[in-house]
Point group: C2
Chain length 199, copies 2
DNA sequence: CACGCTCTCATCTAACTGTTTGACAACTTC
DNA sequence: GAAGTTGTCAAACAGTTAGATGAGAGCGTG
């Protein structure tokens, strides 16, 4: 494209701008996250994404090269965010609770991941690091007869459960999966389960 | 093209009987289960279902009134099958293992359920019965401080996990979710977890 | 054999979807 | 302020899909 000769662009009108590429990109990505996490790739409509962003659908092609490009960009972006979470200093119980709350507050990432899993899309995510879990096991936070890998998968499963099987929540608990009551109850139970698995 | 009345149909499998409505229905349902569980409702193609069944796609309209009718029928059928499973005489650990093996042997039902959950379809499934779990808790199969409802949801989650998050399995365990190695390892770990939760 | 149910095949169409095209306004640069 | 670039939009386009229709073959039964 244009060479690096272009210096710092003139301050782009701090207040209100009619043409704001960065803003448009962001709006589209945000709208796409909503739509794709809600309906999946096949179910999502480019028109709906554009409508939600309040922009013309043609901009999806313009900025991302089409529906699929937008979808991929979304996956990449979310992967970046995902990485910065683990805190070795926290007790495992707290760490799990943190993940759980994040999942409740914004289930879109989880829904997107599940959809990718169901449609058999393979992301190039790196091998999961088990060293932290092993350390916790050595420190007595996890019983010796349990497999750190299995523990991790179980955690993924139970944190995602409210998002992936809301129908089961309604059936079993008789309350809405996103209600404060359920959030609290599920978190407390997970805490207890983790405690049981430490001994 | 078509003008010549083609009396020579392509060899219609001499020994196999044609014109068998029950068989056609079954073939279509089976093929539909494959396709829908694999690609979801929006992603599945009527043509593909017909191809897989080795039948004409028009029969889908003929027997089920269209794609959606077939989809609904599928949900109803699977619900019926699901019901007959619980065996109160079995130790909980064994019961869980049974569910797990069933899930491994045929993940289509689980995949379909997850897809329904993601797309927000509400089946009219009955309220889940917790009495058996309560009985087990009273009998000492589940620690007193744990919620039977939470236990049940956790079981659903961990049994479904290999089907709903195969990518996580590959990341964490480094093996294929449907490999015998993983099946065995996951079952053993779930058994141990259940044991931990009994005390 | 004639009749009705089962099934195949080819064709059509109506709707829908993602993308392309072209016009044009907003903005930058000189 | 003029020229050129970038951002945005509306309409047209091309591909796909589910479903309808009609002609007709296979097959059991009266």
């Amino acid at each position: 494209m244009h060479g690096t000769s272009r210096g710092a662009r003139r301050a782009p009108a701090p207040e209100e701008r009619k043409l704001d590429p960065a803003r448009s990109r962001r709006l589209l990505l945000e709208a796409a996250m909503d739509e794709f996490s809600e309906k999946g790739f096949a179910g999502a409509r480019v028109q709906d994404i554009a409508d939600r962003a309040g922009l013309n659908k043609q901009l999806i092609t313009y900025y991302f090269g089409g529906k699929e490009g937008l979808y991929r960009e979304l996956g990449r972006e979310w992967l970046r965010r995902e990485a910065t979470f683990n805190d070795p200093a926290l007790p495992f119980e707290e760490l799990l609770a943190r993940y759980l709350r994040a999942a409740f507050d914004d289930p879109r990432g989880i829904r997107l991941a599940i959809w990718q899993a169901l449609t058999g899309e393979v992301g190039d995510e790196p091998r999961e690091d088990l060293s932290d879990m092993r350390r916790r096991q050595a420190a007595g936070e996890l019983a010796d007869d349990l497999d750190p890998a299995a523990m991790l998968l179980m955690c993924y499963a139970v944190v995602s459960a409210p998002a992936t099987m809301p129908h089961a929540v309604r059936q079993i608990f008789g309350i809405e999966p996103d209600s404060p009551e359920f959030r609290e109850r599920w978190e407390q139970q997970l805490r207890r389960i983790v405690r049981h698995l430490a001994t």
